[in-house]
């Protein structure tokens, strides 16, 4: 029994080699911006150094990541950063946060206020759904914290048009006979077009029926300008994982 407990503690300790709390991530970000961003980019996208968001660097085991920061990688341009284990762990926490699903991270902000905003004044739920509550035709956010990182959530809220997810580009289609369909194009090619409108109705259209097709350059989603609102919204969305923390963190 004691052995099992010790084993459980050891496993727990191993899992916690890199902290996940918001304070550690923020502290790590400060150090990262001063010491790492020059080569790896401000959000880990890579420049002179490799991207930390994809490829081998994004899949390093905890110990290897910590060791690489602390001791550098001999034979490469990655230098050592002998700044003490706590700071090394904080930098690692920030690096991990760049690729961890939001549900696996601790996020600042008031998630209850974020919920109020989502379903209330922010009118997010007029286009998005969470577990069947809300509207069309925006992406379903029921599982968004398992599928997206916090930086991705932040970007979507601050700059909705920076990246429009496949299947959610706005379109207005005028059909022979004069009928016009407004919505998002779930898919399209030279022969057919599948549009989801604001009522949640799908229109399966042959391109031969199309008289005019107008693509929206901007996302249908407005940016959230207020920083506190945006943070609260991120805090709320970062809790939305259908299977909770365990499922989402896998």
């Amino acid at each position: 029994m004691r052995l099992l407990l010790m084993l459980a503690c050891a496993l727990h300790a191993q899992r916690e080699l890199i902290p996940r709390d918001a304070a550690s991530v923020d502290a790590g970000k400060q150090i990262y911006m001063g010491s790492c961003s020059g080569c790896h980019g401000a959000t880990g996208e890579g420049s002179q150094g490799p991207s930390l968001l994809s490829g081998r660097a994004s899949r390093l085991p905890d110990r290897t990541l910590l060791g690489s920061i602390k001791n550098g990688l001999p034979g490469t341009s990655m230098p050592d950063f002998p700044m003490g284990d706590t700071k090394v762990a904080q930098v690692a926490a920030y690096v991990r946060s760049l690729t961890s699903p939001a549900i696996a991270t601790t996020v600042a902000g008031d998630d209850m206020k974020g919920r109020e905003l989502f379903f209330g004044a922010g009118r997010c739920s007029s286009c998005h759904m969470i577990m069947g509550k809300g509207g069309h035709p925006g992406p379903d956010l029921s599982n968004i914290a398992a599928d997206r990182t916090v930086p991705q959530l932040r970007e979507s809220i601050a700059k909705p048009s920076a990246r429009i997810t496949d299947g959610f580009r706005g379109v207005s289609v005028t059909l022979a006979g004069g009928k016009t369909v407004h919505g998002v194009a779930k898919n399209h090619n030279n022969y057919s077009l599948q549009v989801l409108d604001h009522e949640g109705k799908l229109h399966l259209i042959n391109r031969a029926q199309v008289v005019n097709l107008e693509w929206k350059e901007q996302s249908l989603m407005p940016a959230i300008g207020n920083a506190a609102d945006a943070q609260n919204l991120i805090a709320f969305l970062a809790r939305q994982a259908a299977r909770g923390k365990l499922g989402g963190a896998q």
Partner: protein
């Protein structure tokens, strides 16, 4: 007048999938795994006929990225086709195979295959390999709920296509080879909340528990890994169950081992057992009864009866009264059947003692794969024929008395083929009442073959073969009409549907969805 009335119905209501709509399937649509509640897999479509089948051409192919073994029968409704794979679901434009939405169950564990989905109201349903029922809005793929109904930590997993009856979504579990306790559960269509559960292995002291000789119910198996059928008038669900565990050694579970290898008739509202029929009491050959229980009404020995028929893995074709469970008739539908001297007048097999597996190995026919298996048969009431893929094969089965430990891969030992006697597959047409063979279509084999059939009012039966071909044969004669080499092995049964006035035939291969229709110069 009818058209005017239809136009008055608001689109949202028009589009809702009701139990009544599923009772009309398969007409133009394919609304449940078997096509219909009766599991006849017989479509009313008649555009493709023996006269024109030779002009079938490929209409579109959809590649399921990363798929290794698609086993699903798709659902088709309102111009969309729903295709499920392990822990994921696609909605495709059924006219051209274009992806409309995609859902992946983030965090789902387990890698079991998936055999299909269900549709009811505005939701489509599928299970993840770790026994969650997932409901998605059918137009958008938006998640409505994701509810666990059995725990993977307890060894459960699943691959089943759920069955949507008006009041519940019915699901089952695997576990016949790993020592879990089988069950059928009905979950609420709006919330996933469990409405009832029927355990296929009775708990201690419950009726039927005396058939296990004290073996723990928790390890009994009798899994529920294939989709049952349903009679809405009687409100009875007919669910087939799998083998008792350990598969090949029965020494620790003396008795009939109810309700393994049965069809259980359950009240659709309460899940209470109405009757059961056990095909293979005290199974030591791994002959799950998970073949489709097909429902039909016909005159039998001068009396109009509600019947249930099944081509069982043990080699016999059975005819039962589905109101009472009474055994009416059985007949071998394969030549290679040697484990009995026949059945008694209650349908109980008279087992030859020398066919009980031993540590040294025992030759038994049919093989462990069975005379048929979960590949779907179909039944055409006009021809009166039951179309079923059959396997003529024997195996050497080895049994071991080793202490059984669940979820360790232990099955009481196992089986091996006989190299000098390779199995051979046939698509056979049986007289639905007598089980007499009317014709057969030999497969080229020996090969891999888990594809079943769909029959049509046009007089064409579609089936996979064990060389990766989708084949069309004449429903009356079995004459070869058309084939298409998919280049893959086939693990799924074909379906047929109609959109914009055109009949299509679809089959899932290892990694792609192939859809065919008649050639038309456009």
């Amino acid at each position: 007048m009818k058209l005017a009335l239809l136009l008055l119905i608001p689109p949202a209501i028009w589009a809702q999938v009701t139990q009544e709509a599923i009772m009309r399937s398969p007409d133009r649509e394919w609304l449940t795994y078997h096509g219909d509640y009766s599991a006849t897999r017989h479509s009313a479509l008649r555009q493709i006929t023996p006269a024109n089948a030779k002009s079938l051409v490929a209409k579109w192919v959809f590649h399921v990225e990363g798929a290794k073994k698609l086993e699903a029968s798709p659902i088709v409704h309102d111009g969309l086709m729903y295709v499920s794979n392990t822990n994921e679901m696609y909605a495709l434009d059924a006219r051209n195979g274009r992806k409309v939405w995609y859902y992946r169950a983030s965090g789902a564990k387990g890698t079991r295959v998936n055999r299909g989905s269900a549709i009811l109201g505005d939701n489509v349903y599928f299970v993840t390999a770790d026994c969650h029922l997932v409901a998605l809005n059918r137009s958008t793929g938006n998640l409505i709920f994701d509810v666990e109904y059995a725990s993977m930590d307890a060894g459960y997993s699943t691959s089943i296509a759920p069955l949507a009856i008006g009041k519940g979504i019915l699901v089952g579990v695997a576990g016949g080879g790993s020592g879990q306790r089988g069950f059928v559960a009905s979950l609420h269509p709006d919330t996933g909340k469990e409405l009832w559960r029927f355990w296929t292995v009775p708990g201690k002291g419950e009726p039927g528990s005396e058939t296990w000789g004290g073996f723990p119910a928790e390890m009994g198996g009798a899994p529920t890994w294939t989709t049952g059928s349903y009679d809405p008038e009687l409100d009875i669900v007919y669910w087939p169950t799998g083998n008792p565990w350990p598969d090949f050694y029965g020494g620790r579970r003396p008795g009939d081992n109810l309700y393994s290898d049965c069809v259980v008739a359950l009240d659709g509202t309460t899940g209470k057992l109405k009757w059961h029929f056990q095909f293979t009491p005290h199974d030591v050959w791994d002959w799950d009864a998970n073949e489709n229980p097909v429902l039909l009404d016909a005159e039998f020995r001068g009396k109009r009866r509600k019947l249930l028929v099944q081509a069982n893995r043990n080699g016999y074709y059975y005819v039962l009264d589905r109101v009472t469970g009474e055994f009416l008739h059985a007949k071998p539908f394969v030549n290679k059947l040697d484990w009995t001297t026949g059945l008694d007048d209650k349908g109980r097999p008279k087992v030859k003692p020398e066919k009980i597996p031993t540590p040294a190995g025992t030759k038994v026919c049919p093989s462990v794969r069975g005379a048929s298996n979960w590949m779907s048969p179909s039944y055409d009431s006009v021809t009166g024929l039951f179309y079923v893929v059959t396997l003529e094969q024997c195996d050497i089965i080895v049994a071991s008395a080793k202490e059984p430990v669940p979820s360790t891969g232990f099955r009481g030992t196992g089986n091996e083929g006989i190299p000098t006697e390779p199995g051979k597959f046939y698509l056979r047409a049986l007289d639905v009442l007598s089980g007499d063979k009317r014709w057969e279509y030999p497969m080229p084999g020996p090969g891999v073959m888990w594809a079943g059939t769909v029959s049509t009012a046009g007089g064409v039966v579609f089936s996979g073969d064990d060389d990766g071909n989708l084949v069309a044969v004449d429903a009356k004669s079995g004459k070869d009409l058309w084939h298409f080499a998919t280049g893959h092995s086939l693990f799924a049964s074909p379906i047929t549907y109609m959109v914009d006035g055109r009949q299509y035939v679809t089959i899932a291969t290892e990694s792609d969805i192939f859809t065919f229709g008649l050639f038309s110069a456009e």
